[in-house]
Amino acid sequence: MARQEDAPPPAAAADAAAGGRRGRRGGREGLNPPSWLAGGFLLPALLLLGFLVVYPIVYSVVRSFFDASGDFNGLDNYTGVFKGHDNLVAVRNTAVWVVVAPTIVTIIGLLFAVLTERIRWATAFKLVVFMPMAISFLASGVIFRLVYEQDPDKGVANAAVVAVHDTFAGKTAYPGAGPRAGQDQPVRAEGSGDGVPVVTTKPVEAGGSALLPLLRVKPEYLPDKPVPARTAPAAKPGQITGTVWFDFTKGGGGTPNAVDPTESGLPGVTVQALRGGKVVASTETRADGTFTLAEVPPGSYTLRLPKDNFTAAYGGAEWLGSTLITPAIIGAYLWVWSGFAMVLIAAGLAAIPRDALEAARVDGATEWQVFRRVTIPLLAPVLAVVLVTLVINVLKVFDLVFIIGGGDPNASVLALQMWTKSFGEGDQGTGSAIAVLLFLLVLPAMLFNIRRLRQERK
C-alpha cells in the first residue's frame, strides 16, 4: 500500500497554508506565544527524526566508504555495485522498473479515469481497482505466486493463456507421440524434433493395407474408454486401409509392430495419402484406429500422419522464468498501484473546467483532439505528480520482488540487493553504498518537492 514517505509533492501544500497569513499578522504579534513553547511541541518529532532518520543518513554515507570488515576502501563499494553479473542484473532491472512501471501505471490510471467518467457505477469500479492498495505487498506476492504458477492446471494466468491459444490453434490429438526408434520400422519420423510428421517407410499400393504403429502416447490423450485396435479390413480396389494404434501393451510384453489384443486404437488421427509430394486423399481414423482412404487412383503412395497430430501441447508462458520474471512482477505492481493513479487523475479530471472542453468542441475539434490538446495539457501537473510519486515508490520496491522472485537473481533490484548484501551476506559497506545510491536517486524528487513548496509559499 501507499507508504507515506512516498507522499507526493506538496502541490497543494500550500495555498491553504499560506492564505496570506503573513500580511495580516503584524499587529497582533503580542498575542503570539513565546518561541520556546514551540520547542516543546516539536521536541518528540525532532528527536525521532534526528535519531532514526537524519543520523542514519549521515551514518550510511560514512559507512559506505568502508568495506565489510570496516576498513576504508574509498569508492570501491560504489563501483562494486556496477560490477559482476548479479549486480548488473539488479541495476538493469531497477532501470526497467523505473522507466516502465510508473509510465504504464500512469497510462492505465489515465485510461480508467477517463473511461469511468461516463459510467454510473464508477464508484464501485474505483473501489475494486483501488482495493489492492490496502493489501500488503506480501499478500499480493502470495496472490501472484498463485496466479503465475507454471502449470496451466494450477496457475490462472497460464490457464487463460492456454485456453486462448487452444481456441485459435486447435487442440493437438496426440502431442509427443511418434514412431519406434531404429531402422526397419514400418513408420518413421520425417525430420527430427518436436511435432514432426510421421510417414510410412515403404510405399503402399492402392488396394493395400498398412500398419502405422505409434508410441509415446501420453495417457491423458488417450480416449477415456479406449477401444482395442483392430487390423483394418482388406481394402477394396481404389482404397487404402490401415490402422493407427498405440503399439504398447500395458505392463509390457506385446509384439512390436503387431496389433496386440489389449493395445488401443487411436481415433481422430489425420491420415494422408501422398504421391509425388501431393496429397491425393485424406481421412481420419475411427475409434479402433482403422481408416479407409477412398477413391485412390492405382499406384503407390506414401501415407503420412501430418504434424498437426503431434505438435507439443502449449504449456503457457514461463511467467517466473528468467526473461519474464521482472515483467511479471511489474504486472503484480500494476495491479496494486493502478488504483492510486486512477484516483488522483480522476480528481484532476473532475477539476478541469467543462467550459474549456465545450469551447474546443464548439470549435469543431474531435473528441480525440479535445483530449490531446485540452485535457492532457490541463492534467499535466497531476500526471507529473503521479509519475514522481511512482518513481520514488518503485525505487524502493522490495517486498514484491522478494516474495514473487523468491531469491531468483534474475528478478533482483537495488532495493532488494541492499537488503541481501547487508543482512544476507553481511557486507554492510556495499549495503550502505546501495542505500546511499537509492537516496541520491530520490534527491531530484526531494528538490522538486522543496521548490514547489517554496514557490507556492511566495
Binding site: D86, Q150, F248, G251, G252, A312, E318, P409, F423
Partner: protein
Amino acid sequence: MRISRRLVAAAAAAGLVASAAAACGGDDGDKGGASGGTELKGVKIEVAAKWTGPEEQNFRKVLAQFEKQTGATVTYASTGEDTDAYLGPRLEAKTPPDVAILPQPGLLQQYAAKGQLKPLADDVVTEVQKNFSPYWKDLGSADGKTYGVLAKAAYKSIIWYRPQALADAGVQPPATWADLVKDAGTLQDAGTTPFALAAASSDSWTLTDWFENVYLSQAGPDLYDKLAGHEIKWTDPSVAKALQTLAQVWGKPDFLAGGLAQATKTKFDGSVTDVFGSNKAAMVYGGDFAAANIATTKAKVGTDAKVFAFPKAGGTAPALLGGDVAVAMKDGKGAMALMKFLASPEAGKTWAGIGGYLSPNKNVPPDSYSDPVAKQLIAQMQAAGDAARYDMSDLAPAAFGGSPGKGEWEALRYFVQHPSDVKGTQQRLEDEAAKAFK
C-alpha cells in the same frame, strides 16, 4: 546443494507414522518423568532452524523431551529460507539465538572464522566422539576446534518413483545407470515421461546432487574428496565422463516432464508433485526429504511413492549425505546442555520414532525408526560405511555450491540446456570454482 535447507522427510511420515509416533510419545513421557531433571529450571534457550511445517512440529517434540528432562524452557524460531540472512542481523546486533541449526557446514566455517561460535564443552566433544564417525566430527570442526553437532542427516542417493508407472511400462526399478536409461526409454514408449527434473535456477541444487551421485559412483571417494576440495580441476577427464553420463538423461528433452523449457523452470517441490500429484512423470530425484513434498499430494509414501537406490554408474554404489549442523552461538550452560542432548543417541531415537528423520548418529539403531522407508535408507546408508560422502556442493563456498543463479548450480543448469557442450560446461565450472576457492 542445500538439501538440508529443504525439508526433510518429515512428513512422510505424517500419515504412516502417526500411530507409531503416538506410541513412542507415550514412552518418552515415562522416560522424561523418570529422569525428571530440574537442573536447568528457569533457563531459557532459543533455537533457530530453517524447518517449518511438519519438520518443525517433529523437532519441537524432540525439544519437548529435552525440556522435560532438564526443566529448561526452549523456544523455537524458524529462520525461513535463508538461514544466513536471518542470523546476519541478529549476530550484528549481538543477540543471536543460543543454538542455531545450520543447513550447510560451509556456514559453520564462515561463522567460526568470524569468532561468532562457541566451541563445544569437553563433555559434549566426548559425546560427539562416542556417537559419530570422525568424518562427521570433522565436518563440525574448524581450526582444530569442534563447534558443531550433526543433528540430522539427509540421504541423497535415492530416486523416488511411482510404482504404477513402472508397472504399466513393464519395467523394474533399475540397479545400474544403463538400466536406468533403458527403462527411461521404455517408459517413454509407454507414454509416460520418465523424469521430472527440477532445473529452475532457484533449485538447481538437485542438479549438483545428480552430478555428485554419478561422480562418486564413477570416480570413487578419493577423487570425490579431491574435487570437493578443488584439489583437482573441474576440467579433469573424470568430470567430463560424469557429464557425458548425465547427458544420457539430461540431454533428451523427451525424457523430461514438459520438455527442456519446462524443466529449466521447474522447482523442486514442483518436480515432486509432477510425479506424485499430477502423474506427469514416473521418477524424480530427491533425498529422503522429498517425502515431505509427497505428503502434500494424495500419494502415500511406501505404496504410491517408493524409492530405489541411485543406480551405480561405475564401480561404487554412491552414498551421498547431507545434514544440518547444530552450533552454539551464546555462552551458558543451557546452550551446551542442549548441544549435548542433540549429540546423544537418545535424541536421535526419539526423533527417529517420530519420523521424517535420519540420524547420522551411529548409536541410533535402525530399529528406532518407525518409518519403513527410513529403515530402508538407514540400512543403505550404514551399508555404505566409510565410502559415504557429504554433499560436495554444501562443503564448497556458498558462491560456488550454494547460490541460485551462479556457481555450480548455474553451470550445471547450462549443461542441461546445452548437453553436448561438455567442454564448455567444464570450463564454466572451473572458472566459477577458481573464483570461489581462493
